[in-house]
Symmetry: C2
Subunit: 484 residues, 2 copies
């Protein structure tokens, strides 16, 4: 069967409009949103139902055609576009975007994989409930991609990662069979946790077609604060105090470095900072509450007053209304745009144990400043999770003057990841592996752990058609020979 | 190699005292705590370190000797004792009971698998933190067993199951290799979630030797209430109101039927009930709090007052101190003892979606009363999780008069499990499968799901030496031929 015949078969699965093969229309599906990764594939397939996904996957399985699953195409590690010269297909899930069921009583909602995260949040809110996952790309990323990458974001501290928010899954396995694991149960100890295995597997074990998600009681009140600190020690001491004192009500604890704040103020219009922007570190804090708001606020203000007296806090602003709160959060939500505008930044989505945060930031900073004096260190992080987006940033003109750019990139990454691993951390805390971090999997993962993952991959996808070349460094990438 | 030679080899792994083969001493390890399941094995091996476990497992692997892993031997489904006439060994983890590390800053502690749950709780408390897992057997069950069975208990509503409380694991794989997956990270998206796979796998994929557990800020204050309700509808309405209003602070929401309360009062000395015990349903509620206690208590009391006005609550008692609180919780913690004393009870650890709770209880009750008029229905449950311990109870003299006891047991189980599955529930919400519920796995699990689990089992334990006959109905049990 040649390529045209294969594409014709795909059209019998998903209809004429379900396959995009016109070269003028496929490009947006082959390129990531940064414009850094461009791939190629036979075509784009857009199924409208689980049955269609099943047929497409079964067809690809029979003909050993690789499948690259794509949600909102917001991956930051080339996880959502095909590789160069691929003979596979892009399976784009956007047309499967139904909210199937929302149940306040169950505290659960079931959605198709192509549902945009913001739509999920809105559907939950419309029922008076909260779906807590929140991240920069929420307006375009899809829940299937959030599941594939075990997405994190700003509310992990209180509500956990995507893995903690999924009660059940429907998955099309690599041979086309459909596993209906959609459940609303909180407790079901009947065998292995297959659900957890698919979450974070980045499409290498099957295609998630639908999910049942946990909903939480809507917390009607929020206490937010933005504060500046004189030193890193002081910042971490305040963070530790907040975690101890406001435990389960603390939903966000975001760290922002002065350099990051300055880039936001420089590049993003309509964002302003109510504090003196010259402090070295800032914390953005959310405490979710209800009837207890006044008591919590009084306690919170008292603790902050003590922090100021003790010299741990320079200044603090507590917004009086939602508009003021959103203006503060706009700073946090603008960092990606600001960093992208500034120049060439190497972002590292690292995590370290909380007790190693201070040493990691200090020692890595010293090493970067010594080794790459032209670079600027820009940090924003989910401090409560020990998760830092550690950016080593070269201003555009500086970057243009660097001769061996590829070598520089490698050396920067190596330094930061080596440091994270030295402190028993992770080289990819919440973004996943995609295609981009496969070399780090090879460099930093324990051999036995790779073997265990390879055994799982072989058990579920022995012919390696699902997202080949992603996640696992020693499982074959697609070679140009895998023809239809 | 004959049995004696094999046991001698085991002694070279764990020392003379590490192997118990004397028939007079092995019996407590071969019998479960109910005294219902008695097995047999070559000997009991008690390792003192991960290295010793590794050597023992490697030796068993070479000689194809089955390994039955045992923690505190508190399984309620024959998961912790060997089968009849086994030619395998019991690997008892009790001597590996060290608390390795407690870190307030990391919010994490690392313990060996044989650590008793109560010891873990105490070590956390000594550091001013909370390890929230709490269940009846906490004084003797071990953390390794809690992990193997993904234990639940009374605090799942707020803190999740064991799976949610484990950050990292150390596991000896079925060939003796050691996976060091001990991590304190909240976020680590570098490949498949191997950790989650071992949790709940009941020793069929490897031996958990140590774990890093999540700690939470200690909540210094607790609001507890015990209340009676006129109907099931009223009980569920109050439960729903509490979940909506006290969201993340609600840590326990336990349902007790009149029949269960009466059995406790009948059989367990020193337990008394401050409410009129004739109401059909009771709720025991915990709200954990801190500085916000007064505000929460005022809100709580106001809501309960409304509940009383609306006829949803008959009466309520809010303890004024810890001693009074413990007296109330003593009712809940005494149910197992009471049920055991009463007679022959068939306990069903089922879960159903929250919105199906009412229909499940009503319809199953009707069916049981019609089919088994001699039986009494006794219910205690973790209502917030949809998890009911649904007991069909025969008073001793009634049970003695039943001719076909084995047939009766089967019919009772079949009825209750059929009902749970009809409502898209689970036949084992928190107790796991062990050996006892393997027939239900065969009867109720989707064939494809069993195939997926079998593929995982084959990937990790192809020679099937780890807890054979547990969890998976179609993977071979031990036959008497598997000699050393």
């Amino acid at each position: 069967m040649n390529t045209e015949q294969f594409i014709a078969c795909l059209r019998t699965c998903v209809g004429e409009n379900g396959v995009i093969s016109d070269r003028s229309q496929v490009l947006p599906y082959f390129e990531d949103w940064w414009g850094r990764c461009k791939g190629d594939a036979l075509c784009v397939v857009r199924p409208r139902s689980t049955a269609e996904v099943s047929q497409v996957v079964a067809l690809c399985h029979r003909h050993a055609v690789p499948i690259y699953v794509q949600g909102g195409n917001t991956s930051v590690c080339a996880g959502s576009v095909p590789p160069h010269a691929s003979m596979g297909i892009v399976l784009n899930m956007s047309l499967m975007s139904r909210v199937i069921d929302v149940s306040v009583e169950d505290g659960a909602m079931t959605v198709e994989a192509g549902c945009v995260l913001a739509t999920v949040q809105e559907a939950a809110a419309a029922a008076g409930m909260l779906f807590p996952l929140s991240l920069g790309a929420e307006g375009s990323c899809q829940i299937g991609g959030n599941i594939a990458t075990n997405a994190g974001g700003t509310a992990v501290l209180r509500y956990g990662n995507m893995r903690d928010l999924v009660l059940g899954l429907e998955v099309v396995l690599p041979d086309g069979r459909v596993w209906n694991g959609l459940r609303t149960l909180r407790k079901d100890n009947t065998g292995y946790d297959l659900r957890a295995l698919f979450i974070g597997s980045e499409g290498t074990l099957g295609v998630v077609t639908a999910a049942t998600l946990r909903l939480f009681p809507h917390q009607p009140e929020m206490i937010t604060a933005f504060m500046s600190h004189p030193t890193l020690e002081a910042t971490l001491a305040v963070a530790q105090m907040l975690r101890a004192q406001f435990g389960g009500t603390l939903t966000a604890l975001e760290l922002i470095s002065r350099s990051e704040l300055q880039l936001v103020l420089k590049h993003v219009p309509h964002v302003s900072c109510p504090l003196d922007g010259e402090a070295p570190w800032f914390l953005l804090v959310d405490i979710a509450c209800g009837a207890d708001r006044d008591a919590l606020l009084a306690e919170f203000e008292a603790r902050l007053a003590t922090g100021i007296e003790d010299g741990l806090i320079e200044d603090v602003v507590i917004p009086a209304n939602m508009a003021q709160r959103e203006a503060l959060w706009a700073i946090r939500h603008s960092v990606t745009e600001a960093n992208k505008t500034e120049g060439m930044g190497f972002s590292h989505d690292v995590a370290v144990p909380l007790r190693a945060l201070h040493a990691f930031i200090e020692e890595t900073g010293q090493a970067v400043r010594t080794t790459f004096p032209q670079a600027q260190i820009v940090i924003v992080g989910h401090l409560g999770d020990g998760n830092l987006h550690y950016n080593v940033m070269f201003e555009k003109s500086v970057w243009a003057g660097i001769a061996d750019q590829a070598g520089m990139k490698k050396r920067v990454n190596r330094l930061v990841y080596d440091q994270a691993m030295r402190f028993k951390g992770s080289f990819s805390a919440e973004h996943g592996i995609g295609a981009l971090h496969v070399p780090e999997m090879a460099a930093y993962k324990d051999d036995l752990e790779l073997q265990m993952m390879e055994a799982v991959k072989a058990a579920f996808d022995p012919t390696n058609i699902m997202n080949p070349g992603r996640v696992l460094p020693r499982v074959m990438r697609e070679t140009s020979g895998s023809a239809a």
